[in-house]
Amino acid sequence: MIIPLNYSFRNLWTRRTTTFLTAGGIALVIFVFSAVLMLANGLEKTLVGTGSDKNAIVVRRGADSEFMSMLDRTAVNIIKSQPEIAADRDGKRLAAAEVVVLINLLKRGTNKPSHIEIRGVAPESLSMRTQVKLVEGRLWRPGLSEVVVGRAVAGRFQGLALGETVRFGMRDWTVVGIFEAEGAGFESEIWTDAEQLVQAFRRPVFSSITVRLASAGDFLSLKARLESDPRLTVAVEREKQYYAKQSEMMATFIRVLGLFVTVIFSLGAMIGAMITMYASVANRTTEIGTMRALGFPRRSILVAFLFESLLLAFVGGGVGILLASVLQFFSISTTNFATFAEIAFRFILSPSIIVESLLFSLVMGLFGGFLPAVQASRKKVVDAFRVS
């Protein structure tokens, strides 16, 4: 004989205050848990989406961020002449030598300085990075001090809105356009003509070269040849992996912190659930005795009580995920430890995060409810009726 599920439902409903408090605790834990996962997910999506599988990036060996890397024009020309690089319809080689510099700009509102990456790009850069699209204004005109700004920083920093001017490298640059890049890291950058940037900063060097591979299999041969060339000290990486690596440290930090907080919270929530379940067992001693007298086996009672605590956890988990899903409307920005530059990313929810969070809440319910349920199923019928 199985006790109807309705019994568990009605018990939770009868003690509404306690149910609410316990489920609230579990909801808080799940909210934090899924928020952390969403954050790490969003960060990875932003940086992984920055690269493309078809491209390879060449930087100076040992430079883990582009602004530390330096390649002189001789090296640039050697790299550009490699046979693995694809050509476009007009026979132009798809290789873009870019300059990346960090500048200090003040945030709007708080007036606090933060670092932003400025990318001086070649004409080929735009055709190779297909995700970058101009959404407002126009591109810079050659020979003029004009820039286009990524959507993520346009509103956040002083002087970066359309039509405003921003000063760096002893010049005033006019913002003539805003671009988007499908949420990739480029959206946190300022773009302009590479030659203009080299002149402004008087740096006779480029930072990186991005090349389109004729076929994906060419990567290894290109890497082997360039890295063993005695004239160069470069590292060749797949573009996607290069940018993904820049998120490692941040993602690890978010995960460690999140895990630590989640573990502590879940202990608290489990204790809450345990207290609730023990109390409801103690309060229902007579009920349990009655059910046993009616012939329900111990196992059914165990199941009924366990189900009650799982239900409690499930409700809490659901509420927590709902709360966390609201976070998708927010984006946050922070300094990336790996590049020292400001990066904006969003909380991104995925089906796997929902499943993981719900499973986690059920595990909490199981741990919180197991001991009390065992205690309930072990009550002797005689003792149960002896309670006044």
């Binding site: 605790g25 510099v101 960090l102 606090k112 919270f265 109390a279 103690a282 922070t334």
Partner: protein, 390 residues
């Protein structure tokens, strides 16, 4: 004081429930303490900064350097006592995981005069000044890698390519608790000479200048004078007090700090939920008892005392246990983060203010959690209380 005995007896009526609640509160309180400690560690560099030191760096960003020739120009500005410079090295020792400690090339002629809080034995200082590839390391760093004076260290340059070899000629200790003991310091000349051979266009530059002012109250004026001196030059400067410079670095990771603060607030919420739950149950079970007490002539005052007392007893016990386990937790956290985050947390200690805050929180939660049950106990009519079956 019969009431005190009653409180104790009441608390121990459900020993398991009380113990679980205490345990839950203890964990949450120690988590709160740990997060406060992390936030404090983040700001430890601010405490270590001296009021009479200014930092002059390139106005564009930290990625840009300044000509070494600026030194004498800065020295000539009124109010400046002494100037030294440093350059960020950023090399790789063994692998990236082990390299998260600050490495600077410094001007050894007056570095130790500018930074008196770095205590170095005189004989080590003398050798360090003479030997070109000598390096001085902090006590914590030396302990971490088990370095001894005389050890030869190999590093791979990231910003300055090539293989670099250093000999450790000194181990410094901090004069204050907040002094960073994780730094690796070596000769600027050693770096510059190598650069002249490999990348001559980058030689003769330094990362930033450290300027000592005669009077800390004039810091702002001196800073302005320095920046004005290099206005409209190829390398414009940005000068601020050491404190502001460190704060600027911290504000970069502001988002993370805000998140930590929010989390520590949510933790308070969790404790409140756990304790409120316990207290609500307790009150519900004992409504008929409260009615009996009222019948015997006990007033609302006594009931408040009973319920709030029990709540406070549980919360205080939890808080005490929590504060006690914060210490091993902080040690464990430091070890877990040690390799990855050594650079961010030069000092990591549980502050007295943190403990006081934890204790205050426990008391506040104890009071808040008992509010609703107390109200119900005071409100309940004797007849209803006696009629009720708990």
């Amino acid at each position: 004081m019969e009431l005190f005995r009653l409180i104790l007896k009441n608390t121990m009526r459900h020993p398991l429930r009380s113990i679980l609640t205490v345990f839950g509160i203890a964990i949450a309180i120690s988590a709160f303490g740990l997060i406060r400690t992390v936030i404090g560690a983040w700001y430890s560099g601010v405490e270590a900064s001296a009021p009479n030191r200014l930092i002059t760096r390139n106005a564009v960003s930290l990625g840009f350097s300044l000509p070494v020739a600026y030194r004498e120009a800065i020295r000539g500005i009124p109010g400046v006592v002494d100037v030294t410079y440093a350059h960020w090295f950023g090399g790789i020792y063994i692998d990236e995981k082990h390299s998260q400690f600050p490495q600077f090339a410094v001007d050894t002629t007056n570095f130790s005069e500018m930074y008196p809080e770095f205590k170095l034995p005189p004989e080590q200082k003398a050798v360090f000044k003479q030997q070109r590839n000598a390096a001085v390391v902090g006590r914590k760093l030396a302990e971490r890698f088990n370095w001894k004076v005389g050890d030869v260290i190999q590093m791979r340059g990231m910003i300055f390519p090539g293989d670099w070899e250093f000999t450790i000629r000194g181990i410094y200790t901090g004069a204050q608790k907040s002094t960073d003991e994780t730094q690796f310091i070596f000769h600027y000349q050693y770096l510059d000479e190598k650069l002249k051979q490999t990348e001559p266009w980058r030689a003769g530059n330094v990362g930033w200048y450290v300027v000592k002012v005669k009077d800390p109250r004039q810091a702002a004026e001196v800073a302005e004078a320095i920046d004005l001196r290099f206005k409209n030059s190829l390398a414009e400067t940005l000068t601020e007090t050491e404190r502001a410079f460190v704060l600027g670095f911290i504000s970069m990771s502001e988002t993370i700090l805000v998140a930590l603060r929010i989390i520590s607030l949510v933790i308070i919420g969790v404790i409140l939920l756990v304790l409120s739950n316990t207290m609500a149950m307790t009150a519900r079970e004992r409504l008929s008892e409260y009615a009996v007490l009222k019948t015997l002539g006990f007033g609302a005052r006594h009931l408040v005392f009973l319920i709030v007392g029990e709540s406070l007893l549980i919360a205080a016990t939890g808080g005490l246990v929590g504060i006690l386990i914060t210490y091993p937790a902080a040690k464990g956290f430091e070890r877990a983060m040690g390799d990855a985050m050594g650079a961010i947390f030069p000092a990591f200690d549980v502050a007295t203010t943190t403990q006081i805050l934890c204790a205050l929180m426990a008391v506040a939660v104890g009071l808040a959690a008992s509010a609703f049950p107390t109200w119900r106990a005071v409100q309940v009519r004797i007849v209803d209380g006696l009629r009720r079956v708990g």
